[in-house]
Amino acid sequence: MKVSLSTAASPGAALDALGVACQGRGLNGIELVLEPGDDLEATAERVRASGVQLVALRVEQLEPSKINPLARLSGALSVPLSVPHDRTGGTSLPELAQRFKDAGGSLLYGVGTDLAQVLSAKAELLKAENPASIGLAWEIRPGSEALSEASAVLLALREHLRLVRLYGGGPEQREQDGRGIGPLFVDLAISGYGGSVVLTPSTPEELPRWGAWLASRKSAGCGSGHPPLGEHELDIRDVEPRDRLSMILGAFGALPRGATLRITLDHDPSCMYYALEESQPQGSFAFRKIGDGPQVWNAEVTKV
């Protein structure tokens, strides 16, 4: 699977600037969200001029008058267009499939983690005669939707699955802990899914955090209200995963002999133990795990 970013994360940003932000984050490609007023004829040129790798197009509503221009755009850029399954403006799926096929494009019906919905979309898909030009986009909303049916949904839609859209991830990752994203993505990986996972903000209220996340690789931009900490205390819950180890090893390095560093984390601290074991001389530290989540863990490291 490839992790990509939706332009919904940074509305109004120039595509090439967003491309640079993606590179900084190691993300592969961009989903372009099209607004009702966009000049579709000029969009293909705008994308080519930006040099970004596009993975998909997106509209929140498919207006009947826009079907043909959107189909042509999808064909010209060789990327699928996704639309929520109930926002296709009344045009039947076989009709849509034919029009996208004629333009060399493809259309993806967006479905939630809802088995009944997926089965009904799948039944419609099977009525169309152009399987290459239609498929499903799985829209995963860990913040507002139970993911308990995820395994069954994956089983039902996998042969038609062309795109995954995750409402969250990025700076919202921590609040989505414990919602079942881990097992879901493991199942998705094991199913052999090799397409894109597009990250998109769960709500417009999250946009400032996405802006900060994209602008800085160092800051999670959480702005949380954790109280200031005493000496030899380290709360790394707001630190990005990639920076956590160096912060802990740095704090351990600065610790006087005999002192104890108390660490607060949002995951099992066992990996911190292994990081210390790998990087510090044998017998130079004592490690104690306190508590067992599921939201907060603590660990104490004493320099011997």
């Binding site: 590179q23 990752q173 921590r174 919602r179 994203i181 881990g182 993505f185 052999g192 995951h267």
Partner: protein, 77 residues
């Protein structure tokens, strides 16, 4: 069997390591998956050594600076 790519950058912190072990445990002997992450997962390797000793092969296929990729294979018993 298709290549299995598990990009753990989309998995929240508390679910990352359980997810990785879940993926490994789901492999048959001789199969592998590629772990993709935004930092060097060397502590995880230690954890594998402690919890799945002798059962895995660990091969870096990309070592940063932005993305790390490790192919984790399950040994034939």
């Amino acid at each position: 069997m298709a290549e299995i790519d598990l990009d753990v950058r989309v998995i929240p912190p508390g679910e990352k390591h359980p997810a990785i072990f879940r993926a490994f445990d789901a492999l048959s002997a001789g199969e592998a998956f590629t772990l993709i992450n935004d930092h060097d997962p060397f502590p995880l390797r230690r954890q594998f050594e402690a919890m799945r000793a002798g059962q895995f092969e660990w091969t870096y296929t990309e070592k940063g600076p932005v993305v790390w990729r490790v192919r984790i294979a399950k040994n034939k018993s």
